[in-house]
Symmetry: C2
Subunit: 90 residues, 2 copies
């Protein structure tokens, strides 16, 4: 699966990411991966739910993986942050 | 599976919920379900990751389900909120 099928969730409005996922599906992709870390995880779930309930009804949640990533801050300290990958397909 | 195996994530500190899940496993449960809605979804993922990385190493994420729940506000308006269920087992 190519990189362009991944939608990274950040701090923009939720609908921006919904649109990004919908456009992936409409441009011929059968699979889209939604990735997020930390507080954005809730938004990632919102995006997946809005896409499949409102825009791409044939899209399904194929798998959801969670993991922990280590981030190194400016001062060299490391902190753990949770992440999520939501695999959608139609 | 009985109701007492469910840990609902709210607005308390993350470690409160980590402790609740660890106590479930230590009291003999082989399965614990972590449930959360809205902004608490991120905390639910944190709880699952901290439990399996730090406290109950043999615990695994068996399944993750996401869905949309309809909430009715004080004024009778309904709003949609995303929810997550993380099924852990050891």
């Amino acid at each position: 699966m190519a990189d362009e099928n991944i939608v990274y969730i950040g701090r923009k409005p939720t609908m921006n990411y919904v649109l990004a996922v919908v456009m992936q599906f409409n441009s011929g992709s059968d699979d889209v991966i939604i990735k997020a870390r930390g507080r954005s995880i809730s938004t990632a779930v919102d995006v997946a739910e809005i896409v499949r309930n409102k825009f791409v009804q044939e899209a399904k949640i194929k798998d959801i993986q969670i993991s922990t990533e280590q981030l190194t801050g400016d001062e060299g300290r490391t902190s753990n942050v949770s992440s999520i990958e939501i695999f959608m397909s139609k």
